[in-house]
């Protein structure tokens, strides 16, 4: 989150700034190639502080690549990325973002609680603080009773909630999620969508969210970014003007169906459906 003080400092220190707040993520003309394959081609994208931006597009269009470039797990071949006002590398070493993958990627040899503690451990928090924080996060994802369990004893949906708790444990400004619910059944997925929105509202974290599901993208997001097939570029950015708080009733609104149709038409217009 960009605090008011930070914004003020930026305005004082830099040249006149037109926008209200600088974007949490700014991707400028980024191209990324893997040998012969162009995964991203001239992609530009701003993610405003506090927003929830979904990336949607066909398989292999470079969504994961874009997320990895933002996370400094990959270098762009050309172009520039700014995360929280810094280089992605600096943002990574400052632990400005948390990451959630399609696979929960929990460590089998640690209890659920100690999995959530992992990033705090690496950041040098002492034991009591770590523990308190992990318990707080487990309460947030409603897994308090499973603190002492092993990941293998949890269902896929529960494991993914642990991964979210772990990603949020150190209160990062930014949450990067790569198809976090892609491997879950429809019922669990809808439940976790609600839970994620709840967490997002409580923590005011900025989210970049990759998904294959149009309804999911529309339901969750402030903006849906539709990407073209390889080489990936941004086709269209669709603001989602559904009322908040969103709940199960949201999925029955006419506007919801209109937006789902709009995303679908955009994908179809590009010959993707």
């Amino acid at each position: 989150m960009t605090s008011p003080e930070e914004a003020a400092v930026t305005v004082e220190a830099g040249p006149p700034v037109v926008a209200a707040a600088e974007p949490t993520v700014a991707v400028r003309h980024v191209t990324r190639t893997f040998g012969e394959v162009t995964a991203l081609s001239d992609v530009s994208l701003d993610v405003a502080p506090g927003s929830f931006v979904s990336l949607i597009g066909p398989s292999g269009c470079g969504k994961s690549t874009l997320l990895r470039v933002i996370a400094d797990l990959l270098e762009p071949s050309s172009g520039e990325v700014v995360v929280a006002g810094k280089t992605p590398h600096r943002a990574r070493t400052d632990r400005d973002y948390g990451m959630v993958f399609q696979k929960a990627t929990l460590f089998d040899w640690r209890t659920v609680r100690r999995n959530v503690e992992l990033p705090l451990e690496l950041m040098g928090w002492d034991r009591t603080r770590r523990r308190a924080r992990a318990d707080e996060m487990l309460a947030l994802v409603e897994l308090t009773d499973f603190a002492k369990h092993r990941p293998a004893q949890l269902s896929g949906g529960m494991q993914q909630r642990v991964a979210i708790a772990r990603a949020l444990a150190f209160s990062p400004k930014l949450l990067l999620m790569d198809e976090p619910f892609g491997a879950l059944d429809e019922i669990t997925r809808e439940r976790l969508n609600l839970e994620l929105l709840d967490i997002w509202t409580k923590t005011r974290t900025t989210v970049v969210f990759v998904t294959h599901s149009i309804p999911e993208a529309v339901f969750l997001s402030t903006d849906v970014v539709v990407m073209s097939p390889r080489p990936g570029r941004v086709l269209r950015r669709i603001p989602v003007d559904l009322p908040r708080p969103r709940d199960t009733g949201t999925r029955e609104l006419d506007r919801y169906f209109e937006l789902v149709t709009e995303v679908r038409e955009t994908l179809r217009g590009a010959g993707l459906l």
């Binding site: 070493t93 990451m99 990627t105 460590f107 089998d108 040899w109 451990e121 092993r150 004893q153």
Partner: protein, 290 residues
């Protein structure tokens, strides 16, 4: 029936089957005078060798011999061999611990640096393709000529030499076994190489480390016995095998000693296997599919 009960019954059945085969061969060879019936082709092993010395005893004879004095009078063979086991185990333990440690360090070095792996791994592999029987005496005698080392250290060195290789290979494999997303997760936390090693790679490698150590546990026993055999030494199971086999030519005592050596190997392996079970249970479901 419990799985353990079935395993025990299987084991007894296999041992009984082998004993029956052994006795059948013995009876057959006695009946035909060590010849294939109707030919003048000799059977592979004669029940009695030159000078009528028994070289194919009843199965139970070596077992009974353990309870009898092994030369003239005094100490029983069993008590004597127990003492030799003690001597050999010291070499086994030293070889196993040092070899496992060396293997772990080499595996970690190779996991850290592709350059180190590419430049040193060929030598590690080459070291194992040289028949170790050939240079066992050189190693043992060479070590023993160093004044500051105890007499058994040369044999321990040979044992270590057999242990470090499976440990190196399995450590390297294990350290590389963490899924790519787990590595990415650690990178997203900007974790240092050491942190990644201790918090992710080593824990992920634990099941592989046990594979290496289980192979090493038996290799350590083989190394120690061959070491004792190949360099003239006066103590240890290898020395006993040498003296009963080559010097006194007493096959009953030789078989008894071989039996004990086999038990030492099994015990060595089982100790590591038990430790593995305890540790992996604490891990709850970690490791490669079993």
């Amino acid at each position: 029936m419990s799985r353990r009960g079935r395993t025990a019954i299987n084991l007894v059945a296999i041992l009984a089957g082998l004993a029956v085969l052994w006795e059948a061969y013995r009876a057959f060879a006695l009946a035909t005078g060590n010849m294939w019936p109707g030919t003048d082709v000799a059977l592979p092993v004669a029940v009695r060798g030159s000078g009528n010395a028994q070289q194919f005893p009843h199965v139970w004879e070596p077992v009974l011999a353990l309870g009898r004095p092994y030369r003239g009078g005094g100490e029983t063979l069993g008590a004597f061999l127990l003492g030799q086991v003690g001597y050999t185990l010291r070499e086994v333990l030293a070889g196993f611990v040092l070899g496992s440690l060396l293997g772990f360090l080499l595996g970690t070095l190779f996991a850290h640096s592709r350059l180190a792996e590419r430049s040193l791994m060929p030598y590690v592999i080459a070291s194992q393709t040289v028949p170790f029987i050939a240079f066992a005496p050189i190693l043992v005698v060479g070590f023993n000529s160093l004044e500051s080392f105890p007499r058994w250290s040369g044999v321990a060195a040979l044992s270590m030499y057999l242990v470090f290789f499976p440990m190196t290979v399995n450590t390297l494999r294990g350290l590389r076994s963490a899924p790519a997303t787990a590595e990415e997760l650690m990178r997203s936390y900007a974790a240092s190489w050491w942190t990644r090693l201790w918090k992710l790679r080593v824990p992920a490698a634990v099941p592989y480390l046990f594979v290496g150590m289980k192979i090493g546990a038996t290799a350590a026993v083989v190394g120690a016995i061959v070491g004792e055999l190949s360099a003239p030494s006066s103590q240890g199971l290898g020395a006993a095998i040498f003296s009963f086999g080559r010097v006194s030519n007493n096959s009953v005592q030789l078989f008894a000693t071989t039996l004990v050596a086999g038990l030492v190997g099994i015990a060595s392996f089982s100790t590591v296997a038990l430790l593995e079970r305890a540790v992996l249970r604490a891990y709850a479901g970690a490791g490669p599919a079993r």
